[in-house]
Every structure is written in structure tokens, then in C-alpha cells.
Amino acid sequence: MSDLELHLRSEVARILQDGSVDLVVGFEAESIPLKPQPTFIEDSKDADRLIINGFCQNNLATFLTRLPKEKRIGIVVRGCESRSINALIVENQHARDKLYLIGVPCHGIIDWRKVEALAGENIISAEENENIVNVHTIRSQFSIDRGDLLHDSCARCLHPNPVSPDIMLGELLPEGDPVLARSVVDEFQLLSSEKRYAFFTQEAERCIRCYACREACPMCYCTECFVDHANPRWTESTISPAGTQAWHIVRAFHQAGRCVSCGACERACPMDIKMTYLTDKLNDDLRRLYGFQVGMDTSTQPPFAAFSLDDKKRFIS
């Protein structure tokens, strides 16, 4: 158990005991290797179940909109989670004073797919040791450099530190490199339109429309998603190219100015579909055009919810 976990458990036990929150959202140990589970702690005695490590792959903010509004919630937040929460507060989905954000530093989430790609499928256990991840499989043992296992979104994370947490455990990390953050989008844009379309199609066509990306996303909280609309039907509900492409385009576009680039959608996908390049493109555009970054405070409206007269210089025709 790491010092951070010890610290986290005592803090959670404290806030539950003194009644400042009703419930704490965090992670507990996994039932299958590499997949720690989100957990909901209501009793300070259960605080010992909490863990935090690089394998915790979900964005916990996604549970906020599913919990009763009147509850005071403590939540373990990394950089992306805190920004998601801010974005939710901007959209009036939660009140800041009902939340207690327990900030933890994040060195990036380890992508179980990359672990499996390097160590094979029959993994019994894996643990982090500083910058090395030790993986035990049925047949052998691997020590892999942590940097090689980071999820793509985390490898180019801009703001690993929680934004204005109520308490910060552990040490702050250096901010990410903006050039690196843009690299994927920049490279993709240099490709010919045929190549871009080919890549987009090849990814989208694997989609099985399980909507794990939607459910894993903290910002996808609509009561009725456009794909569930019966009248009018906005798009095909089959796994035809028309249906899956429409889903990927509209899902991403609905995230414009709202996505915090946490990559939870991509990690949730059972078909390994790349989709963060789409939302990253939108984020990048909004950063360039409007200087907007999602979730950096609790008041700035996203560009599509606001407009300004300066806009007229921005469009050509």
C-alpha cells in the first residue's frame, strides 16, 4: 500500500466520520487484474477499501450525475476528473458546495490493452513500482517501463493536477506539454482527406453501438440521447456505416467545448476504437479560436453557449 493510499483512506474516514459528506466515490481493488472498480463508501469503516493507482481507468465524475442531488459527495479526483466536475458545475449539473474534492496526483492511467499487447493475455496480476510496471502472467513475468503503457490521452495530458480541489494529497506534478498535446491532431490533419476518411471509417466500422463511450463519459448525461429518439429518428440504429459514422461524429461534436480529454470513452470501448482524436480536434480548435479550455474554472461558458460580436471577423464568407 502506498503512502498516498494511506493518506487517502485516513482523509476519507475523517470526512465521513465528521459528517461533512454522506458518500465518497473512489476506487477499490479489482476482481480481475488491471481493472480496479469504482466504489461508493458511506461508512468510515469501509474507507480501508479505497485504493488509487495507475490502473484506475474510469472517470469518476461520470457517477456524479447519477447520484442523488441532495447528497453531499466526496470524490477522489485526478486532473481530468476535477475538470469534468467543473464543466458539470458550469452546466448546472451539480453544486460546488455539495462536493468535496479530494485531489490526488496522477502520473497517467495505464492502458490495459497496452499491457496485454506486451505481456500477452493471461495476466494474473500487475503492480506499479515507481516507473516500472511488473506484470505476472501464467507463464512468465515482465517488467515494463510505465511510459510505454500510458493511455494515449494520458501521455499527452495537459493538466495532470486537480483544479482547485478541497484538499490535495501527494505532490503536484509539472504541467503537460501543449505541443505534445496537439501532436496527434496536427499529424492527422496533415494527411490527405482520403487517408483521414479511411482512418475514420476503419475505426467507426468496428462500433457495436454498445454506447460504453457514452456511459463512461461524465459529460454524456442527457436523459435521452439523439440515437434513442424515436420521433424523429436522427440516425440509423443499425451497425451500418451510416449509423456508426453518424454516432461517432455527433457524439464527438456534442462534446465540443465540454470534453476534458480524459480518454474514458476510448478506455471503455470493447472494440478498441480510437475516438479521442475527434474530440481532441474540437478542443484544439476551441483553444485556438476562442482561447477556451474546458473545466479550468466553474463559470466560463463553453464557446457554443456564448458568442461575441468579434465573431464576424472569424469567418470568411
Binding site: T39, C210, D228, P270
Partner: protein, 335 residues
């Protein structure tokens, strides 16, 4: 009846079979495998221990299947395809699941013509699991790594060879050119099977599971186990025994189509009046679990889960159905 073939001969065998029928087998797609119609034997990928990620039920109940095409205002059925095909490399759990689905689609009263046609034109060639995965639990739910239920032929990996077990007459037609092995090989296979079985711990107790779940029906247990469920369709879409579907009209293409559907979605049971019998995630989780471990038992006295472990491996929040059942078995029911 047993036959044998060297492992490195398998490509040639598939190439040979391709002259007789279409061959569907696991092939690579990115980092995982799916069943596809192979053009060459060397596209086969069965070296990894794991199952295909996308379940082979899709070969019989495609995720999106055209039921009718609109022609001059009438719904016309597509031509039924009855060209023979061979599905190679299907794992015993997935083949077992097809037999369970037969009890749904091929009842005496109503036979599903689409399912029936796909089943009838297919020879199922299974691949035994000599090295089951950590997420597998077939032995717990009444199947096993060398189970032959639903299969016509079973390939069993034994050192550098596959021992081939002919299960049905239908399967025999594919094996005529192969070298026979005396039945004494059975003892060796049994040893291998035992080893595989021993590597699979019993994941949970199945005795009285139905009664236990019925008792829990209105218990807080469901709230507890469904708390971290996201409500996506991964577990059900990848499940080999989940068969729910939705029928929709794709007006612009003029087709009536059926798509897989899942009880984990809110709109699955949403009625026109606005009433929803399963409005929150705990009711939907309950439906999924109880369908597999109670309702299937009610209707055919078999558990509706074959222990393939896909839902366990690919759940985005690491929910483990084995864990949920274990919790149910140990849960104290508040009367």
C-alpha cells in the same frame, strides 16, 4: 471416432475445406480476433488463449439483420442463404450457447426462419481449451473446456498435434481424408482435460442459485451490486447467450431490420405512455442476472450463461458477474 493432424497442417486443411464450403474462423482485427469468412487458411489466428472478442452468435444472429425489404409497398423477405459453411475454431462455451439459443429461436410454435437457415447450413468445428483463461468459468456453469454440446467436430490441442473428435455424422463428412487415431488416445485426452479443468477454480456455488435470486428480488442487494454499473451494452452485446433484439424500419433504405438490443438500456423497456417497468440501473442489472441465473433455469432448467468470461473481461468498470453471484449467495436476505 478420432483423427489427427499436425498443428502446422491446419492452414492446408482450411484451404482444402474452402473448396467445399465457406470457412468462418477467428482472424485478427487490431489487437483482438473476430470470426470472419476467410479467404486463405493463413488468416487464421487461434494461438492466443482467449476467445474472439466479438461473439460468434453474430454468425447466426447478425447484430443488424435485414428481415424485409420494401418493394412496391410490400415487405419482401431476402433470399434465404443455404450455401453450406464451416465455422472453425469456435470455443465449447460459444457452441454450447448456440444450443441454448436454439431453445428460444426454434420453439415448436414459432421457428425463426433466419436463425434456422443459418444453423442448418453450418458445420461447427470446435477448438478445445487446453489453457483456459483467468476470466473463464465454464466448469462452474455446467460446461467444460472440452465440452462437445452443439459441436459437430472438436479439435483438441495435444502437443504438436490436434486430436480431432468426430461428434456428429454431419461432421464426419469433413474428416474422411484425415488419419485415424485409435480410441486409446482417449486416456491422454482425459488427462489433458482434467488438467484444464483443474486450472479452472469453481467461481461460485450454483446450487439453489435460482431460489436465492428470487428471494433477493426486492432486496437492497441489487442497488449495491449495480452501483458502479455504467449501463452500457458491453456485457450483453458480447455475451454469447444474450439474444434480445429490436425491430426497426430504416425508412430511407426501405428495410425492416432487426438489431441486437440490450436490457441494460433504459429505452429497452420504455413504453409509449412513458411508463418504464425498469426505470433504473439496478432493475436492469437484476433483469440481466436473473435472466441468466433464474429465468433460464425456469424455462429449460439450464443456466443461461456458458462461462465464456467476455462480460468479465470487457466491462469498462471491472464489474465481475462471478463476484456478483458470489455476493448473492452470501447475502443475508432481510425479510
Amino acid at each position: 471416432m478420432y483423427y489427427q493432424i499436425e498443428k502446422n497442417e491446419i492452414t492446408n486443411l482450411l484451404d482444402h475445406w474452402m473448396k467445399l464450403a465457406g470457412v468462418f474462423a477467428p482472424t485478427e482485427k487490431g489487437q483482438f480476433t473476430v470470426f470472419e469468412n476467410l479467404m486463405h487458411g493463413d488468416e487464421l489466428r487461434i494461438n492466443g488463449p482467449h476467445n474472439t472478442r466479438y461473439p460468434p452468435k453474430s454468425l447466426f444472429l447478425p447484430q443488424s439483420e435485414r428481415l424485409f425489404t420494401l418493394k412496391n409497398g410490400n415487405l419482401v423477405e431476402p433470399k434465404i442463404n443455404n450455401e453450406p459453411r464451416i465455422v472453425f475454431g469456435i470455443r465449447p462455451c460459444d457452441a454450447h450457447a448456440l444450443t441454448l439459443l436454439d431453445t428460444v429461436f426454434l420453439t415448436d410454435q414459432y421457428k425463426d426462419p433466419y436463425w434456422q437457415a443459418e444453423r442448418e447450413r453450418t458445420i461447427l468445428v470446435g477448438l478445445g481449451c487446453d489453457e483456459p483463461c483467468a476470466s473463464c468459468f465454464c466448469t462452474t456453469v455446467g460446461s467444460g473446456p472440452f465440452e462437445t454440446r452443439g459441436l459437430d467436430i472438436l479439435f483438441i490441442p495435444l502437443n504438436e498435434k490436434y486430436i480431432i473428435k468426430q461428434v456428429t455424422e454431419k461432421g464426419g463428412s469433413l474428416l474422411t481424408d484425415l488419419r485415424k487415431v485409435p480410441d486409446t488416445i482417449e486416456t491422454e485426452i482425459q488427462k489433458l482435460e482434467q488438467k484444464a479443468i483443474n486450472s479452472l477454480p469453481i467461481a461460485f456455488e450454483t446450487i439453489d442459485i435460482r431460489e436465492k435470486l428470487y428471494k433477493l428480488f426486492s432486496d437492497a442487494y441489487w442497488l449495491k451490486v449495480s452501483q458502479s454499473c455504467l449501463g452500457c451494452g458491453v456485457c450483453t452485446f458480447l455475451c454469447p447467450t444474450c439474444y434480445c433484439f429490436d425491430i426497426v424500419d430504416e425508412a430511407q433504405r426501405g428495410e425492416r431490420v432487426r438489431n441486437w438490443d440490450t436490457c441494460m438500456f433504459r429505452i429497452y423497456s420504455q413504453e409509449a405512455s412513458g411508463h418504464n417497468p425498469r426505470p433504473s440501473r439496478f432493475e436492469r442489472t437484476r433483469q440481466r442476472l436473473m435472466h441468466k441465473y433464474a429465468y433460464w433455469l425456469d424455462s429449460i432448467n439450464e443456466i443461461g450463461c456458458t462461462g465464456c468470461g467476455r462480460c468479465v473481461r470487457y466491462c469498462p468498470v471491472g464489474l465481475d458477474i462471478r463476484d456478483m453471484i458470489r455476493k448473492a449467495q452470501n447475502w443475508e436476505v432481510v425479510e
